[in-house]
């Protein structure tokens, strides 16, 4: 058996590895965090489209603030919530480039709501990658606009209550209503099947941006094992049970 194994581990038999555009810097994300998988998908799609030299990523403020340390492309680190405005100018001034933002739920759906809605409404030819884990991970687990009702965070320690905090914001549903968006979709990366589907959709989003079809929004319903105080696998199960009913996976709009 030993010899058979040696035969397998050869370059010509390679079917999966860390994406070429993802460098060797250790990522600062907590064990099991969805961010890493989404980073890999973006790296793979850019590489497979042959757009490495034409891609500009806009990093957010939040857990993914250091996204620029992990994918070997040009990056701009935006002020909190302003990534869609930054991306708007980058794309309009460089129409032949491929431009995307990478934003969390606080960045995109709280402080940056105006920039998100207006970039989408103008139909900017960009991709918005949206990580929704219903919590503020980087600052230590505070309530997000997408935090579920009764879900506990450090700023709603007795659970989110409508009277105090209002309702979880289904911002992708809202963005799907705008005439400027061509693709609004909810994906997840908790299983291999989900990852493969998400990658196909992400590629479509990037292709849309180069075909000048308008704004594509790819929401990833994600886990936050540390913020949710669960193991990664428990977090994925909690996500399936609690997040998916509120934020169902699938395309909200695809034209």
């Amino acid at each position: 058996m030993e010899t058979l194994e040696l035969d397998i581990v050869k370059q010509e038999n390679l079917i999966y590895e860390k994406p070429r555009l993802m460098n060797d810097n250790p990522m600062h994300y907590c064990p099991g965090c969805s961010h890493g998988v989404v980073h890999k998908l973006i790296a793979e799609v850019i590489d497979e489209m042959g757009m490495e030299e034409k891609t500009i990523g806009i990093a957010p403020v939040g857990c993914a603030v250091f996204a620029y340390n992990y994918l070997d492309i040009d990056w701009i680190e935006a002020a909190h919530g302003r990534a869609p405005a930054v991306a708007t100018a980058v794309k309009r001034l460089n129409p032949n480039k491929m431009v995307f933002t990478y934003q969390g739920d606080g960045d995109l759906a709280a402080i940056g709501t105006a920039e998100t809605i207006h970039a989408c409404n103008r139909g900017e030819n960009i991709v918005i990658v949206f990580i929704n884990n219903a919590i503020y991970g980087m600052t230590g687990g505070q309530m997000a606009p997408t935090t579920l009702l009764d879900m506990q965070t450090s700023t709603c320690p007795y659970g989110r209550k409508v009277e105090l905090n209002g309702y979880p914001l289904k911002i992708s549903d809202l963005l799907a209503l705008l005439d400027g968006t061509c693709l609004v979709t909810r994906q997840a990366v908790h299983t291999a099947t989900a990852v493969r589907r998400a990658k196909r959709t992400l590629r479509k989003a990037f292709e849309n941006s180069m075909a000048r079809k308008g704004t594509s929004v790819v929401e990833f319903v994600s886990n936050c094992p540390s913020g949710w105080k669960l193991t990664p696998e428990q977090a994925n199960q909690w996500m399936i049970k609690n997040m998916f009913p509120k934020y169902p996976l699938g395309d909200l709009k695809d034209i």
Partner: protein, 74 residues
């Protein structure tokens, strides 16, 4: 029907021991060790190499890109 045989290697230094690859594997090829890497994580390693079909599920779900998968038809 053509059979396939796979093999996975784990970058144990990069691994954070999240266990998601272990859960994702349909053939119980992987396990978390009791040993720790230099960052203090119980890393993943191959337990049952013979069972691997090279489906790459472990690789897809690994958040840190620690897993490389090879596959041959036999």
């Amino acid at each position: 029907m053509a059979k396939v045989k796979g093999s996975v290697t784990v970058n144990t230094e990069r691994c954070k021991g999240c266990d998601l690859c272990v859960v994702a594997c349909p053939s119980e090829v992987l396990e978390l060790t009791n040993e720790v890497n230099s960052k203090g994580y119980n890393f993943a390693r191959v337990k049952n190499p013979d069972e691997c079909t090279g489906c790459a599920n472990c690789g897809y779900v690994c958040p840190d890109g620690c897993i490389t998968v090879y596959q041959i038809k036999i």
